[in-house]
Amino acid sequence: MNKGNFKNIARTIQAAFLLIGFMVLTNGAWSQQTFNAKGTVVDQQNNPLPGATVVVEGTTKGVITDIDGNFEINCSKGNTLLISFIGYKNQQIIVQSEQLGSIVLTEDFVTLNEAVVVGVGYGTMRKSDLTGAIASVDSDELKQGVVSSTEQLLQGRVAGLTVIQGTGDPASGASLRLRGGTSLSASNGPLVVVDGIPGVDFNAIHPSEIVSIDVLKDASAAAIYGSRGANGVIIVTTNRANKGKSMQYQGYVAVGTVSNHIDMLSANQWRAWVRENEVTSAIDYGGNTDWQKELEQTSISQSHVLTFNSSTETSGYRVSVNYLNNQGIIKNTQLERLGASLSAFQYGFDNKLKVEAGINTNFDKWNPYDGRIFERMLNLSPTIPVYNPDGSFTRIGGTKYDNPVELHTNRFADNTRHRLLAYTKAELEIIEGLKAVANASYEYNSQQSRLYKPSYAVMEGISDKGFGQRTLGDYTTMQLETYLTYNKQLTDNHRINLLGGYSYLDNTYEGFGAMRRGFDSDLFLYNNLGAGQDYRAGDVYSYKGQAKLISFFARANYNYMGRYMFTATVRRDGSSRFGANNKWGVFPSASVAWRISDESFMAGTSAWLDNLKLRAGYGVTGNQDGIGEYKSLSLLGAGSDTYYDAVTQSWKQSYGPIQNPNPNLRWETTAQANIGLDFSLIGRINGTVELYNKNTYDLLYTYRVSSADYAFPTIMANVGSLNNKGIELTLNGNLMNTNNFNWDANITLAKNMQKVTQLSDEQFQTDDVPSGSLHGIDGMSGQFSQIIAEGYPVGTFWGPLCTGIDSLGKFMMADDGALQDIGNVQPKLSYGFGTSLSYKNFDLDVSMYGMYGQKVLNATAMILHNPARLPSLNVTDSFLESGITDKVTYSSYWVEDASFLRLQTLTLAYNIDGKKFGLGKVRLYVTGENLFVLTNYTGTDPEVSIEGLDNPGFDWFNVYPKPRTFSFGANISF
């Protein structure tokens, strides 16, 4: 809480009270009789405010408003009631009668922000007390409209957190990356902690269940999660049972269409080209087909969530059920999800013990598509009809000429996934301020796939005479975390907060699969694999593995007058994945904060500077994702290596070593320093600037080793190092606020600079690592497009610099085609912008995000601009305009600037007081998503995944187009 600000308010109020007191005294004649006055405290949108304090001025009489914002207080006419609620400006009214009606509190922009309770891992803190870099997003700021992956909620919301939705596939998630990523080979995704349970699958949680998301950005904040904290931590708080009774429905219907196509020649354009160029050998199949449109559809999606809550002070429950049917804009693709969550709590033992339990579960169904359709839909001549006159699919034969509509239609693919997250938590207050907590959780994800390619289906269907496959994969995590917290106000000025705990995690994965070929009947689909006659080695398999993580952790906070704050954390992690020589790692951190605006020398600025806080921290975190299980050991496995046994005249399974063991394997270590400045100005603007510098060392990479020295070509080792530094800015402003009109806006800006600083040590050496393979493009087998090299960021495109196309249509390369740095996949700047306006019952929300300066290899265009394609394979309109006659050549010509600004959502809503219909609050809205993208990128969409080293920043036929969606929704409280 901002003390300076409060002093001002207090002073004003004091003055007002004096005046009122004076008036009361002088009019003492009608002030004696007491009665019970009734009123309702609401916000500017007329939402009830439960828990607001109502005090009769000058007395100790006070009450708290109930769930509907109602209160009843004993007072006399002429008394002044002081109404306060955290995050709102205090309000006073003079009692005139028993019926006080609605009392409207207006938001106090500055204190609201500072009073936010932030999850810091194993506890919460007020934002005002934080010493580390933590960004918070609460539910009403989260993305609206169609959300099929929970990651999307954060798009453009947190400075430094890049969310890339590389595909429009409704069944596929987005990737998250904080402050540039710290690893070459391991995941760069932050650790997701849901309701205190670390490592949860983000998508186990329904978006509507989320109350707030806190992002621990720097190491001093994330170090409490030790060897899993290097890429930051995302703390998700979900709805739990809370006091009162309520019921709510949220739902929408959405219509989506393809936002952008690749402009290919139409049949008539193709025919014109053939005529003009007098091509006699071209085959015109007589059709007029737009192969992209043949695969697309207008999608209609719907979502429904019903929630009810019934709780008292000491016990209660909350239930939520949801259904989502998210259709894709490619035919036959959709995600159907049925989910439920249940949470309950009970106090006991003199309210000293709180027991909570909850379960979150969902069931997904989707139909995976064959990714090869995207290349073929651009290959096939527009003159080929989709169907023969007899209704069968056309087949013209030849490699990559397969009819994509047939490929997409003649298959049966049904996947399902169950997710379950259950927990039990007990909190015991041993003495005042000392709490013991035990939190046991169980997460179970199970995925099944079912695939059948009938014997009449093009490609494998025909060649395998029917192909059926089933797989099952289970993933189970059991965790127990126990910890003690001690919270004590030592004297008026000194407050301490201590935490110490232990955590045990067991992660087991197992699965099996079976496939068969040679089905005499296609009637069984994938349901009776035994009916297949053709059995092959490797058709049946199973696997199992396990990892354990054991940790001890501690944290101490010290706070002096809310002006000086200090935090230190330490975590000791032991992981079964680590090599025998490095089983345990220690991850410490320390941070301080200083509220400058509270210093007496700042008194002169208090008129406009409400808050100024400087933070500094340093910490060490780790990343153990990249190791995987069993990588440090010398193992034998039965793999695909069979051998012919001449004695029994049969094939047998051989056993052999499977890897070069490395007993020195350890986590990747990231040391990060962070300086942050929080400020609030003129009561309307608050903001944060963060500066960071993080060094990751012991970078894991699978090093190539000499084949004369080792039986396997690579060995995983901790060698290199990587530096990320950057600056982030977050600004929130309340631009206008009257009784009827409110206007808020927020901006996030982030700049990250990445550099690989070391790749070699004495044992393992490499000058540069080729990445971004072009293998599979005609004439480019074994060729790479990127390098990882000291001094360059990961994902640096390395190729010839093209200076243009000469008069003969040949590419002109600078420096005789010497390979050089031609840009990289990392954005120079990423940004988000949001604004919300409300006027009376209407509100309007706009959110945009974008990236600037990142490059994308438009491999799709590179392949399509091939003079050898015509007349048999289709080309783009732009190919004919380009005049290119040269063979397909990788160069900077195809490495495009993919800067963009996307209007992600625009929501217009109307809020109704539903009382006249017997309802509570009703909100009706319409949302448009992905309404436009401003970009110079020539492919379908500039937002391309940069995960991994295989094809980061590649646009290569594999991109499921992104939809433009309009949704109509209603939220109704009962």
Binding site: I283, F349, K352, L353, R395, G397, T399, A426, A438, I462, S463, T482, Y502, Y504, D534, R536, A537, G538, K544, G545, Q546, S576, Y630, S634, L635, L636, G637, D641, T642, Y643, Y644, D645, A646, Q649, W651, S654, Y655, G656, P657, I658, R704, S706, S707, A708, D709, Y710, A711, P713, T766, D767, S773, D778, G779, S781, G782, A868, P871, S872, L873, K887
Partner: protein, 500 residues
């Protein structure tokens, strides 16, 4: 207070119970120290040595003995095969052009592929021998098991000796320090001594796909016939002697019996790498790399044949080196290719007929239909990318040809002709009364086209160094390939071959 104590008790119990053990528990794998104790377990480990002969594929290179790029290295640098550049297709960083022009650099992927094939096999076998030595078998039993393993390893070393000459010799399980080269003469001596040491321990009988005494003797014969090239000392007698020790094989009456999909019944094939795609074998797809994209229409009326990618073909002059009556000529595709569905000539994408020509007018910008294609191994409708025929490494005809060449070189052309005539009779061609070394050279070409032997013959005969189609004279040092740059970068103790 009671509940509180119980609660705290549980908490501390849970903390203490499970906090120490971080050993990884194995489920679907076994530790190398726990496996390979019993004879049946040993068998499965030895099996992996034979599986290694099929090579592998990873993100660094393909390393398949049947095609990419182990076979391609010796074939596309010889005078019998080539991979023309067709537009952008098959340019692939110029690796095949370098092979054709004899201008390969140490960076060439073909050069790396064969090196990795050999050493990966060698180091896997070193690990397997280590496992065998740690087992509970008796010393005699170990010696017998190890004999076959050492034999396969000697085969890999023979390849290295032939291709790279001066290579490191390793027989231990790990060389983290980086191992240095041995001169070619030492590698030669190592291969010979290994083979001679194990000869009597190897199976004397025919065992399909295994490294038997017959295989060892054939390999020794190969070593001796090239002895002059390898160490500057001719050993024609030793070669004939080794050939004479090969027992139990004969020429198949039909040349193509050796190349059937079910070629395990051949009485001629001495050593093969067995393949059966249903048993999970991969890497056996040479023919698909040769045929045109639309060739499938000629093999199946419903185009039920694997995709083909129009690559390797015969150098001009090879096809016409066969008499028309020579049945071996049927192993190639030349002229119009007829669609089984329509009965007429298949049309390529550009609308012109698919007619393979022997002439390749511009090697660096060839048309899709130029070059004679290779279908020596049987082709069947419905075949997939991965083939099931066993890949022939050694067959009895080679014994005859090696003897013929040795007799010829030792000045006994009549004896030589007795060998050659057997081969030519089977091929349904007359043998001239007088033959010379040049004739033997051409017979090697005709009998063993695309069987991986041609480069050695070219070098032995000296033609390697003379200009031929799309190739200038080749300097002496290019009789050896360079040590791959990739390997030099990873191992500072390796020294590049002279001249590179």
């Amino acid at each position: 207070m009671k509940i509180r104590n119980i609660f705290l008790g549980i908490v501390s119990l849970l903390m203490a119970a499970s906090c120490t053990n971080l050993d990884e528990k194995l489920y679907d794998k076994v530790s190398s120290s726990d496996y390979g104790k019993t004879p049946s377990e040993i068998e499965t480990i030895v099996g992996r040595a034979y599986a290694s002969l099929r090579g592998f594929s990873d993100e660094i290179s393909n390393a398949f003995p049947t095609c990419e790029f182990v076979l391609f290295l010796s074939e596309t640098t010889s005078d019998e095969a080539c991979i023309p550049t067709r537009g952008a297709d098959w340019y692939d960083e110029g690796r095949y052009q370098e092979a054709q022009f004899h201008t390969w650099s140490p960076q060439n992927l073909l050069v790396l592929s064969a090196w990795r094939y050999s050493y990966t096999g060698i180091n896997k076998i070193n690990l397997i021998i280590d496992q065998v030595n740690k087992s509970e078998l008796s010393d005699d039993e170990k010696a017998v098991v190890n004999a076959e393993l050492r034999g396969v390893r000697a085969y890999y070393y023979y390849m290295l000796l032939d291709l790279y000459g001066n290579v490191p010799i390793t027989t231990s399980v790990s060389n983290t320090e980086g191992i240095s080269n041995s001169p070619r003469s030492e590698v030669y001596a190592f291969v010979e001594s290994e083979l001679l040491e194990i000869l009597d321990l190897l199976p004397a009988e025919k065992l399909y796909g295994r490294f038997t005494q017959n295989v060892a003797n054939t390999l020794l014969a190969r070593l001796y016939i090239n002895s002059e090239v390898y160490i500057g000392q001719a050993r024609w007698d030793d070669c004939i002697e080794a050939c004479d020790r090969v027992k139990g094989y004969q020429l198949e009456p039909n040349y193509f019996t050796n190349f059937l999909t079910e070629n395990e019944n051949s009485q001629e094939n001495i050593w093969v790498i067995p393949y059966d795609s249903k048993e999970g074998t991969v890497g056996n797809f040479f023919a698909s790399l040769s045929f045109h994209y639309k060739q499938k229409q000629a093999f199946s009326a419903t185009s039920n044949y694997t995709d083909c990618v129009n690559g390797i073909c015969l150098q001009p002059g090879v096809y016409s080196a066969f008499d028309d009556t020579d049945i071996r000529k049927q192993g190639f595709l030349e002229g119009d290719q007829i669609s089984l569905a329509t009965g007429s000539v298949i049309l390529m994408d550009n609308g012109t007929p698919l007619t393979y020509t022997e002439a390749i007018i511009d090697y660096t910008a060839a048309s899709q239909n130029e070059g004679v294609r290779i279908k020596k191994y049987e082709v069947k409708e419905g075949e997939t990318w991965e083939r099931d025929h066993d890949f022939v490494l050694m067959r009895y005809a080679e014994i005859l040809m090696m003897k013929a060449e040795c007799y010829m070189r030792m000045g006994a052309p009549v004896m030589a002709r007795q060998m050659v005539v057997q081969i030519r009779d089977r091929a349904n061609v007359e043998t001239p009364a007088d033959i010379d070394l040049e004739f033997i050279d051409q017979e090697w070409l005709r009998e063993f086209t695309l069987e991986g032997l041609r480069r050695s013959v070219n070098i032995r005969m000296g033609d390697w160094f003379k200009p031929w189609w799309n190739k200038d004279a080749t300097p002496e040092y290019r009789a050896l390939f360079p040590i791959p740059q990739y390997e030099l970068d990873l191992n500072s103790n390796l020294v590049q071959n002279p001249g590179y």
